[in-house]
Every structure is written in C-alpha cells, then in structure tokens.
C-alpha cells in the first residue's frame, strides 16, 4: 500500500503544528534560536560542501560518481521503501554524469549536498523540550514504581534524581557557555546515555545541546519524536559517500561556529567491552577545531571549550549484547546494533526497577573543560599555559601574525586533543561498586588459570569460587588503593562506594546483577561466592583495566595480564 506523502513526512519527521513561530527570549539557550536559522544553516552547509568539491571539474565528477555508486550499492542491498523511492534517481544521475557540462555537474553536486543537509539537519521545538524535561522523569519513575503511580507522576524528578548523581563544576560550565560554544565529549556505554546526559544538563542548570544520533534510533516512533524535536541531527551510518560525510562534518562545524553547544561521543559507538575509550574518532572533534579556526579567519573570536564527560553505570542496560559483540571474531562484530536491550520495553522496566533501590546507580561527571588545543581554561574561559600564564588560543591557528586554515595542522592538533581527552577520561571516570567486585572475582579467575587465553577463561563458568570473607577483604583493599589514586587525581570513586561497608558493597553488586541480567554473574552460596559468568564479570571489571597494575598489591602477575586487555579494546 502506498503511504501518502504527508503521512510519510510526519512519520519520518514528526513535528507538532505551530500557528505562530516561537520568538526566543533573551535568556533562552542558544538552541531555542535554531528553528529560525535552520534554513540558513542548511544552505550554508550545502554551499560550503559544494564549493569544496567544486574547485575543479575532475573533483566534481569524482564526487558525483562516488556518491552515485555508493548510494546505488547501499540501496540495492537494502531493497526497502527508500530503495524503491531513490534508486531510480541515482541510476539516472549515474548514467548522465560523464555527459554533464561543468555547470550541470556543479548544480547536481549542490542538489545532492542540499538533500543530504536537509536529511541531517535537526529541529528544535521549545514546547517538546519543556514537556520532555517535565514528563520523561515522571514516565520513567512510573515504569519503575507502577504500584506508586500517583507519587511517581507528581515526584518523578525526585525519584529519578536519586538514581543518578551529577558531578563536576557546573557553575564554571554555566559561565563558559555564555562566552563560547561548549562541546561535550562523553564516554559511551549505553543508548540511555543521551537521555541521561540530557537530564544531567538540565539538573546542572546547563543548556540543551545538539547532537548526532544514529538513524537506527529514529526507528522507534516515540524516541524518534523526541529526537526530532530536541535538536538531534540524523547520522545515517549506512551512507558511505564522501559528500555525505563532508556534509555531516560541515553541519557540525557550522553549528559550533554559530555558538550552538554540541555533544559528540568521541568513541564513535558504545564501548563494547566497557573499557574506557582509548582510541577516539577524530572527525567530529576536528570539526569543532575547524569551527574555531574558521571563526578566527573571519575575525570572530568565539571560544570553543571541550568538556570531557564520563557516564558511569553500576548496571549497564545492554551489557550482555555489547560484551557478546566484543568477543565475536574480528569482522563479525556489528557497528550498529538494532535488536539489543534498548529496543525491548520489558528490559527497560526490569533495568529501571533493579536500579531503583540503589543510590546513584549512574554518575555523570563533567570534567574540567579544555580549549581545542588541550589547554585547561580558567573560570572566565581563558586558556592556561603549562607555566600558569594565560595564552590566546587564536595563536595556535596563526602563522606569521595571520589566522589561517590548514587541514594538516588541524588534524595534528585534533590528534593531540584526542590524547588529552583519553587521559582525562581516565582521571574523570567514576568507579562503581560492580566494577570493583567484578575485578576481584576476575582477578581470581586469572590467578587460577596462569597462562590461559581469554576464551579458556571465559569458559570457566562456575569453576572458580572465593570465600566471601576473602572477597570482602580484597574489595576493601582494592578500594583503599583506588582511594589513594583518587587523592592524586588519577581516578574517582562513587561517593557511596568510598564510604560504604565493603560487605554491603559486595552484596549490592550481586543483587544488582542477579535479577536483571539473564545470566547470573556471581552466586552467593553462603560462605562462598562462585564466579558463575566470567563474561559478565570481565565486562564490568574492564573499567578498571587502566588502573589494574597500580592497585594490584600482591596480585602482580594477574594484574599484568589484565592490563594487557587494554590492547584488545
């Protein structure tokens, strides 16, 4: 059956009707101005990309051919509604490219980039934003406590806020968002991250942000509605055309140039292993640096601040699917996973109910911001040199007194910045109880199987056990060593964990795992704890891999082997 165009457009881009345009107030966050600028942004993005590819006839032809070929290949393999709608157009274009005049090729590139930019560009509806910040906590609270529905509906925010803590210098970020564009770069563990982070920004009194969301997230109509109306731009990872990637990067760059606060997950996708990201995708980060340089060449002194952010869960919604994917043979792992726990309502409900009785089951930590060159910044946004003096960040993009654009230079700066962020992730990560308990049990598995390979250890289901007293003592010892690292600013511990009775820490970790995950991670059998599922234990302990050798005590050999896991991430 053919779906009418208007209905299809609404399903693809659901928006609320508006009789009069929203007029932003002076103190509204930058994103409230977005819809008024949307058309202009799409035009600017399309023009810039077309101009970059239009410097020579050869480049135009190459861009069009690459685009037509990759799109035909993609649509052919998809064989869906989109293919039926678009495949013919790409085939027609492909047949004509070689016969086109330069002017026709230029127009064709411009049409393609405009279409891509339209597809990517988001939408922001202040009504949906206000509804979301009020309703989503209540909705989630109701799912968690259906028996206390009236309370959940009236006090949803309070219920939800008990579940997660927000750390970091929010006041400094509030000041910085007035003098520049903030680019949040969080670690990525779960599809819940963007929801949780959105709530954390609200809780910390910070402005909402624009962010790229995988098109797969737009398949759920409810999620799609919110995504479409809260500033998310669509990233279709299936499209391989270089013009499309250029449009994405340029869109992000133009948004930052115009002062919109942004969010990228620099790891690119959810960490399959639960290890902290140590290899970052530099493309979108580079767009923020290019935005700064581009503004400087136009005499616009708008600062850009990167905010390394860690999102730390005691229980990860999609843990089982993610770790399975990590352990698959090379080439079989999936970059996009559409059928995980995030898409199953019963798993959401089970997850939310499980974490309800925990305080701060998730901690979002906003780290100290840095400029695009990795320098720390003070409260007013001035960049600070290693010697303590303030320096002008514009000096990094100047040569012989003039601000310049230089892709090779900026790529080198972005790589340096990536290294700074990886270090910051380690220092700003907040370790949760489950990571410590899993580490102690995994370390025992390693100790019990000297020289064994990873997969042999993963097969040791229920074969290794520890006296409960011993687990508690080792968790206490591990926590003390980690507190030592925390004092040196090398890592953070969940505040509850830092002060709790170690026996309670162990009990809580077991309780959290068992009852949510479909497989039992570890079993309490009276005086002993049995490591039932080494795979889940490995997943949760992986957060500790960078610190393993520094907190190992007498378990040096096992710690060295655990540290080697870092090479697999």
């Amino acid at each position: 059956m053919r779906v009418p165009r208007a209905i299809r457009a609404f399903v693809e881009r659901p928006r609320l009707p508006r009789l009069e345009p929203y007029v932003p107030q002076a103190n509204d966050p930058a994103i409230f101005w977005f819809n008024g600028e949307r058309e202009d942004i799409v035009r600017e993005v399309a023009e810039r990309v077309a101009a970059d590819h239009g410097r020579s006839v050869g480049a135009l032809e190459l861009a069009l051919n690459d685009c037509a070929m990759t799109e035909m290949r993609r649509l052919d393999s998809q064989g869906d509604d989109e293919a039926r709608r678009d495949l013919g157009q790409w085939r027609a274009l492909s047949r004509h490219i070689a016969r086109m005049s330069e002017g026709e090729q230029r127009r064709a590139v411009r049409e393609v980039t405009t279409r891509f930019a339209e597809d990517v560009a988001g939408n922001f509806d202040p009504r949906v934003y206000r509804f979301a910040i009020r309703a989503v906590p209540r909705l989630l609270a109701s799912l968690m406590q259906p028996s206390q529905l009236p309370r959940a509906l009236t006090e949803g925010e309070r219920v939800l806020d008990r579940l997660f803590g927000v750390e970091g210098d929010a006041e400094k970020l509030q000041r910085l968002e007035k003098v520049g564009s903030l680019v949040y770069v969080p670690t990525h563990s779960s599809n819940l991250d963007s929801i949780v982070l959105g709530r954390a920004l609200e809780k910390a009194g910070l402005s909402p942000v624009v962010y790229g969301a995988g098109k797969n997230l737009f398949t759920n109509p409810i999620i799609s509605f919110f995504m479409h109306n809260l500033g998310a731009y669509r990233v279709d990872r299936r499209i391989d055309a270089s013009l499309y990637k250029h449009v994405l990067k340029t869109y992000s760059q133009v948004m930052i140039e115009r002062g919109y606060h942004s969010l990228f997950f620099p790891g690119g996708t959810r960490s399959r292993s639960n290890m902290l990201e140590n290899k970052l995708k530099l493309g979108l980060m580079g767009s923020a640096l290019s935005a700064f340089a581009h503004n400087q060449t136009r005499g616009v002194d708008r600062r850009v601040f990167f905010v390394p952010t860690t999102i730390n869960y005691a229980l990860v919604l999609e843990a089982e699917t993610l770790v399975e994917d990590w352990l698959k043979a090379e080439g079989q792992a999936r970059y996009i996973i559409e059928d995980d726990e995030f898409s199953q309502l019963d798993r959401w409900v089970a997850f939310l109910r499980k974490v309800l009785d925990m305080q701060a089951a998730c901690v979002i930590r906003f780290g100290d911001p840095v400029d695009p060159f990795g320098n720390p910044v003070d409260d007013e946004g001035h960049s600070i040199a290693p010697g303590g003096q303030t320096i002008d960040p514009a000096s990094y993009v100047r040569r012989r007194g003039r601000a310049t654009l230089d892709d090779a230079r900026d790529a080198a700066y972005t790589r340096d910045l990536g290294e700074v962020l990886v270090r910051r992730f380690r220092h700003e990560t907040v370790l949760m109880s489950t990571a410590l308990v899993a580490h102690v049990l995994w370390r025992r598995i390693v100790d019990a199987s000297p020289g064994a390979d990873l997969f042999s250890r993963l097969r040791m289901r229920g074969e290794v056990s520890m006296a409960k007293e011993e687990v508690v003592a080792e968790v206490a010892e591990l926590r003390d060593r980690l507190l030592g690292l925390q004092r040196k600013g090398k890592v953070r511990l969940n505040r509850w964990l830092a002060a709790a009775d170690p026996a309670v820490v162990v009990d809580r970790a077991l309780r959290v795992w068992n009852g949510y995950h479909t497989r039992m991670a570890a079993r309490d059998v009276g005086r002993e704890i049995v490591a039932e599922d080494p795979t889940l234990l490995l997943y949760y302990q992986n957060r500790l891999v960078p610190f393993a050798t520094r907190v190992c005590g007498e378990h040096e050999r096992a710690a060295r082997e655990i540290a080697q896991l870092g090479l697999l991430s």
Binding site: R398, R400, R409
Partner: protein, 318 residues
C-alpha cells in the same frame, strides 16, 4: 608573538643552547641568510649572530631550536615556555629519553610549554658538517607539516637535504638508540674488532630496539630510516662523533668522568642504555646489547668480556 615580517622579510630563528650543536645551527642560519638569535647561559660572541642571555628575547623568533642536553630540557623549556604562545614552532635536537619510562622530549615540550607545533631534528647531521656546510642530510619528525617546512626554510638547501617523518616518537627513539650504539662502536674500535663485528653489533642493536620501541608508539620502520640505520652508517663510516670517542676512552679503562671531560660534550647515551635495558625487561623484551653497553659504561664488566659474552649468546632467526 609580534607579527614578524608580514611577508617582507623572513622572521628570525632562535637557538636555545650555546654548545657545539647550538653554535653550528646559528652558523648554518647565518649562512642561509636568516637572522639568528642564540641564547646561552654564558656570554658568547659569534659574528653575524645576535646572542643573548635572556630567554624572553627569543619570543621574537618564529622557529626555535632547542639544543640543550636532555637533562636540562624540561627546566629550560619551562622557563622558555613563559615567553611563548601557540604561534611558535619548537624543534629539539636532543638524543635523550627521560626517566625510567623513556619519556620522549617532544612530550616534555608539550607538557612544559604552550607551543604545540613541535618536532625533532635528527639523522646523520653532526655539528662540524652543519657549521661548515658540508653536504649532508637530516630528518625532521613532526606531526605538523609547517614545522618541517620552517626547518627547511631555515637551514635546508643545496648542502642539507631535510626529510620529514610523521613518526615523531620513532625519530626520537632512533636518535637515542644511535647514541648508545655509537658508544659501542668506539669500544669496538679500541678493542680492534673487525668491521663485520661492528656491523653485527649495530644491526642487532637496532633490531632489539625495534622490539621495545613500538610500546612507546614508535614505528619500527622509522628505526631503519635516516634517523636510525642511516645515522648508524655515518657512525660506522667513521664520523668521529663524541660518542665514538667516549666509547674508545671507556674501553681503555678511563673513568667515565675523565673520558667525558676529554671528549668535551654531554653524551646522552651513557645513561640511556641502562634505562632502555630496564624498561625492555619490564615489558618482557630482551635487550642484551643495551644491557652489555650499560655494563661496560658503568664498569661492571670489562669491554673484552662483554664482547665475548655477547658472542657466546645463543643464535636465533633474524
């Protein structure tokens, strides 16, 4: 930094360090027609070169060469960094690696100065050849093409071919390894070993470095390029660099202190071999040649014994 020249005249180039290599760089700059500023702790007078004892004076320069021994790099860079900003280009010429973790000097510069456009100049380039303008070549390790371009613009030319590598750490590691292997060449010469023995020592010395260097994120291939194997060819060819002379003096039984005075230069290799050996052991790699060089330098073992012990080791595949 003030806007130098605005295209009318190329900006001046600074050299930090008045030792042999620093002075040679200043002379090469003068010969290339560039305005050279040379900073030294002691007062120097070099014709055609602006000398200073104030680091702040160097902020007028766009490109700065750091030519001080690695043990002084962090302190000097920290003081220099107070006068720099992101526009400065900073290139060091040291063969050092710092501390037990073999920290490279480009990382030290990154941590101590606001200049991020950094690099390292290495390869078969000795002070004498540089000062006299003899035909030779060098390599700049940098992630920033404009740094390599600035170095070429400053001292490159018909007599000095300057190649470029993005593997900064690889170039720095290669330079450090050549530093201690050159000591071994001097020792070997004093013992009267054959060129074949030297060839085996140097080739295997570089091969063992290729095992631990990747753990510092250096590419093994870089060790076999101009900064490593290329520089070793100059050593084996008899370039009489200070490291070789020091190795000869050590082999005669002269104390390290006296040998150092006689050579009249700071030799990085004397401490690096030991730290390389310890570092490699820590990550599970064997470095018998570095270990043996360290033993000889520290007089734990006589040079002939060390050579014999190396030759007696079990032979494996290459």
């Amino acid at each position: 930094m003030s806007a130098p020249g605005e295209g009318r005249e190329l900006p001046s180039v600074g050299v930090v360090g008045g030792g042999g290599f620093g002075q040679a760089l200043a002379q090469a700059l003068r010969r290339a027609g560039r305005r050279a500023q040379l900073w030294s702790r002691r007062k120097l007078d070099i014709e055609g070169v602006e000398t200073t004892q104030e680091l702040a004076d160097l902020k007028r320069s766009e490109l700065l060469f750091l030519a001080v021994p690695s043990t002084y790099v962090a302190d000097t860079a920290r003081q220099l960094g107070l006068h720099l900003d992101g526009e400065h280009l900073l290139v060091h010429v040291s063969r050092g690696l710092i501390g037990d973790d073999l920290l490279t000097l480009s990382r030290v510069l990154r941590r101590t100065t606001p200049a991020h456009r950094t690099g390292v100049l290495a390869g078969p380039l000795d002070a004498e050849a540089l000062a006299e303008g003899q035909p030779t070549g060098a390599i700049v390790g940098t992630r920033f093409p404009e740094v390599a371009q600035a170095v070429r613009e400053a001292i490159g030319g018909d007599a000095l071919r300057i190649y470029e590598s993005r593997d900064v750490v690889g170039v720095e590691v290669a330079a450090a390894v050549v530093g201690y292997l050159a000591l071994a060449v001097g020792v070997g010469q004093e013992l009267g070993v054959s060129p074949a023995t030297v060839a085996v020592l140097l080739t295997r010395g570089m091969a063992e470095a290729a095992r631990w260097a990747p753990s510092l994120e250096a590419k093994a291939d870089t060790l076999y390029g101009l900064a490593g194997q290329g520089d070793l060819l100059a050593v084996a060819g008899g370039d009489e660099r200070p490291e070789v002379r020091l190795g000869r003096a050590i082999a005669t039984g002269t104390s390290l202190e006296e040998a150092g005075k006689a050579v009249g230069a700071h030799i990085e290799g004397v401490t690096i071999a030991r730290r390389v050996h310890a570092y490699a052991s820590k990550i599970g790699e064997q470095t018998p040649i570095a270990g043996m060089i360290a033993d000889v330098v520290e007089r734990r073992r006589a040079a002939p014994d060390a050579m014999a012990a190396l030759m007696a080791r079990q032979v494996g595949t290459e």
